[in-house]
Symmetry: C2
Subunit: 220 residues, 2 copies
DNA sequence: AGTTTTCCTGATTTGATACTCAAAAATCAG
DNA sequence: CTGATTTTTGAGTATCAAATCAGGAAAACT
């Protein structure tokens, strides 16, 4: 046993394992499962490749372990949302979108992995759904359904709506390299993030069309 | 020289090359560049692996060649859009979205590849931008800019708007596996596509909020 | 027909990557 | 400090995928 007075002192093993998970999460998210090489992860974590296999049986286990880091992130959102359970479904949806944006900017790996595995399908996607995506998505879809029932949202297939909102919101974050290559713009700046949040919450949730009844001046 | 009277008769070589490109496009888009194996492509195209290297020097060239197939698709959109050059920027944007949806359903490979490479960055993304993505994106951004100048759109960074629209619209298409795994729903059906087009054009372009001034009944 | 050119393939080489293992090094408890 | 335990590693294996090449089949041309 080894604890310091204030902070839990991790044993050496757990410390390197944590570092490996961190590096692995980054690489998996940026490159995808196959492109991310154990050797590269080891190098980035400044350990030998064999150390990876000491802490995690194989690449697949490492991936799963790294993903479970993200579970904590998602459960944070769940906690905040459940605290506001008495708000209207639409208000909850809006809040979920805001949380989604904040979390996505803080942990861009999440969105990239969902996109990568969500396109490819397969075992890892099923695992993701079972362990950290499915419940959240179904909860959001249910919120959308209720918002529609309340007449706050136009009636659309709620599952499509949820996926579309998330994909649209994550687009600018996930496709930052594309924005750099196509426009020479880096969206990940203070102003960029603010503009993005503004865009999503206004454009996607309130509509892209300017209200033509009150034209001319105004700077909202 | 070898042409038939009515149709250009492709030489044997060009025929197999075309088949290889077709198969390769599918595999690259579904699996990504690295996961797609030359052996599997060869098998699917019913030729030997060496044949791939006869027609295309290496995997990279094959990828580029397959991508150029998509250039035709995009130029079709360009043609239709330029025919309507005198419409308002907003109308053109709307039309572009509709075209984007149709084309994306018909060629799901396009969106998947843009997403894959757009997240990863690197040489292939730069190549894509230079050869078949950049001009289109800049044109759309310019349309958005003009729609904003005309007061039809709220003022947002036009590049972000374009990316968000595309990502949101392609979301349901690209993430079909996720929708199956999470919701047990297959969006790629006749009704699914219709609902999707409805969702995007209404929700993303006209706003998600129902007009509360005219509540109660109505079934639009 | 015969001849030339194009096209295709089996066998092989090259390179990279996940994974193993025995032994060394670091860590920790008493 | 000392011995036991945990952690790390260098070296090595097995596997799989990309790329090469020489020889032979098919097509095109005269």
């Amino acid at each position: 046993m080894s604890k310091s007075a204030t902070v839990v002192a991790l044993g050496k093993g757990e410390r390197t394992a944590a570092k490996i998970r961190e590096v692995a999460l980054d690489q998996f998210s940026r490159l995808g499962f196959e492109r991310a090489a154990m050797g590269a992860i080891a190098a980035a974590a400044e350990v030998s490749q064999a150390t990876l296999h000491y802490h995690f049986q194989d690449k697949d286990q490492l991936w799963r372990s790294a993903m479970l880091e993200l579970a904590a992130v998602i459960s944070e959102e769940e906690r905040l949302l459940s605290a506001a359970r008495d708000a209207s479904p639409l208000a909850q949806l809006r809040m979920a979108m805001r949380l989604f944006l904040q979390i996505s900017w803080r942990h861009p790996a999440l969105g990239r992995i969902v996109a990568l595995e969500g396109m490819a399908g397969g075992e890892r996607l099923d695992w993701l759904n079972e362990h950290l995506l499915g419940p959240r998505n179904r909860r959001l879809a249910e919120l959308a359904r209720r918002a529609m029932a309340a007449g706050d949202l136009k009636p659309f297939p709620p599952e499509m709506l949820v996926i579309t909102l998330q994909a649209g919101a994550a687009g600018v974050i996930n496709l930052a390299p594309l924005m750099r290559s196509a426009f020479g713009i880096d969206p990940d700046t203070v102003e960029g993030r603010a503009a993005h949040e503004d865009l999503i919450l206004n454009a996607l949730v309130q509509g892209l069309l300017a209200d033509r009844s009150e034209t001319t001046e105004e700077t909202p």
